[in-house]
């Protein structure tokens, strides 16, 4: 099947820094594709390039086999976008927001009203249809923004950090909605720095940092490729780490210690004998991959 997006050697330079360096990727149809990376990694810039809202300095990009430089309007007609910050129109109610947005796509008036009813239901906002957007909670605004992104029945939905700033309940609702969309065959592209989100939603993802793609694959492939399958987290003062280092690969952050191993048995036996250590044994996850690839130092961007 034809991929939905093909990017080859994308570059984006600004006067003072390079946001994207030689980035190539292919987004298959009907999947959820994620860009995972710390703040300032270049994720949002890539999404802007994808929409024709930021001209790339170099490389080629086609979406639906159309060239972004020549046919951005045609491409945007078939895409839905959920931006990082809600930009609902505060002058309008929930329903009016959808009506006005539909008018920008020049959709036939007759179809719109029934589609809006369906989208309000999907976003669980039917009862708030006449509310002003400023009176909505953060989770409701996000849901409305997602409903708005679906107004043109898009083949591809782009979401820039869709759950940043939401409480856990709201986040789970959004995840459920996004899975539902993907199951219906809509291609999703999202950026996130939440590992749990990437792991739950993404079939395939790229890990980025400093404008570069560090690696790409499914969450399981990435875990397998970069870290040992078992992790034991130890908190507290380690009496003697040299002994542990024989048994596992160990990393330290402050008073926390992360031990990675293929076979954790000897390590666990060793730790059982230490009285005052608290430890947690878990399978390796994306966060371990992420921290290994992007480093553990604090980012201030």
């Amino acid at each position: 099947m034809q991929p939905i997006v093909q990017a080859r050697h994308l570059e984006k330079h600004f006067a003072r820094f390079t946001a994207v360096k030689d980035v190539s990727f292919t987004i298959p149809r009907g999947k959820c594709f994620g860009f995972l990376g710390p703040n300032g990694a270049g994720k949002t810039t890539i999404l802007r390039i994808l929409l024709g809202l930021s001209p790339a300095t170099g490389g080629q990009l086609t979406v639906f086999d159309l060239d972004i430089q020549q046919q951005a309007r045609e491409i945007r007609r078939r895409i839905g976008v959920v931006p990082q910050q809600d930009n609902l129109d505060p002058d309008f109610t929930v329903r009016e927001n959808l009506q006005i947005y539909a008018s920008y796509f020049a959709l036939p008036r007759r179809e719109i009203e029934s589609r809006i009813d369906r989208l309000l239901e999907f976003a669980a906002l039917s009862e708030r249809a006449d509310a002003k957007t400023e009176h909505l909670s953060g989770g409701m605004k996000r849901r409305l923004t997602i409903a708005r992104a679906l107004i043109n029945d898009p083949e591809l939905v782009i979401l820039d950090e869709p759950t940043t700033g939401l409480d856990p309940q709201a986040r789970h609702v959004i995840w459920a909605k996004l899975s539902e969309l993907r199951d219906r065959g809509t291609t999703l592209v999202l950026t996130t720095h939440y590992m749990e989100e990437a792991e739950r939603l993404c079939d395939e993802l790229v890990v980025m940092d400093h404008g570069l793609i560090l690696d790409q694959g499914s969450p399981a492939q990435l875990i397998k490729r970069h870290v040992e399958p078992e992790v034991i987290e130890i908190s507290g003062e380690l009496p003697d780490s040299s002994e542990l280092e024989q048994l596992c690969r160990i990393e330290h952050i402050g008073r926390s210690h992360y031990c990675y191993a293929h076979n954790p048995r000897p390590l666990l036996d060793h730790l059982q004998n230490q009285q005052d250590l608290i430890f947690l044994h878990r399978p390796a996850d994306l966060e371990d991959v992420f921290l290994k690839l992007t480093g553990r130092e604090l980012r201030d961007t």
Binding site: R77, L88, Y104
Partner: protein
């Protein structure tokens, strides 16, 4: 590195969706809008027209009230479009991120700003009609001929919308607009023949004032309101149209520079 995109804008029908959005918002706030439209010109015409008019009597062979009303129609088109093109457009462009949302639809900056300019012109027409009504009620208008001022007011609104949107594209914040009001809008209001004939100004100033668009808007509206023949209509229309096109072009280029990065 971030090269300017000087490409000529394309005006499409989709600009009307932006115009429609704005008119829907305006309809919600119609109460205060109408008070503004009628209240201010009524004060000018009553206060200055009758107050000053009592001493002045006639100016340029017409009652001062008619002279003033025809000037105020043009200057209000200027202030209405300037306010809309600065405060409202800036609000949608920067703090409210409305354009950011619209730009993820098939619309371009070309469409958005064409729609905004049409809306500025329309809003100027609303205020122009209000003044015309007030002036007619006060007996300053004598013929239906005066309705021809309405398309002129529309063009005047378009003409001042461009520079105002340019200010929005360049502005770091609302305070920035004070420069434009103090350095451009207010001088035109005082100098361009709204309150007295330009011919009373020293000649050097006259030639400067003739470069300013408000002068040409007044030169068109005054005879139309007073029922006199318009002199050099094509020159005045051409100046207003020229400012409109150049204003639109630079507004688009500078807004691209701000938003498409």
């Amino acid at each position: 590195m971030n090269a300017m995109n000087w490409q000529l804008p394309i005006i499409r029908r989709s600009a009307l969706t932006i115009w429609r959005r704005n008119i829907l918002v305006w309809r919600k706030l119609i109460g205060p809008a109408i008070v503004m439209n009628f209240g201010e010109p009524a004060l000018y015409l009553l206060g200055l027209g009758f107050g000053l008019g009592f001493f002045i009597g006639e100016m340029a062979n017409m009652p001062y009230l008619t002279f003033l009303a025809s000037g105020i129609i043009a200057s209000t088109a200027m202030t209405t479009a300037s306010f809309e093109g600065m405060y409202s457009v800036y609000t949608r462009m920067v703090p409210q991120n409305t354009y950011e949302a619209i730009l993820t639809t098939p619309l371009d900056i070309d469409d958005i700003l064409a729609g905004e300019m049409l809306w500025c012109g329309t809003k100027s027409v609303f205020s122009g009609i209000a003044i015309l009504l007030v002036a007619a009620l006060l007996g300053a208008v004598h013929s239906w001929h005066a309705l021809w001022a309405i398309p002129v007011v529309f063009l005047t609104g378009l003409c001042f919308a461009g520079p105002a949107i340019i200010m929005s594209a360049l502005s770091p914040g609302y305070d920035f607009f004070n420069y434009y009001f103090v350095l451009a809008v207010t001088p035109m209001f005082i100098m361009c023949g709204v309150f007295y004939p330009i011919s009373t100004l020293p000649e050097v100033m006259q030639s400067i004032v003739y470069l300013l668009p408000l002068t040409h808007a007044v030169e068109l509206t005054r005879p139309l309101i007073a029922g006199n023949p318009v002199e050099h209509p094509l020159l005045h229309l051409g100046v207003l149209a020229g400012y409109t096109l150049i204003g639109y072009y630079f507004a688009v280029v500078l807004t691209r520079k701000r938003l498409i990065v």
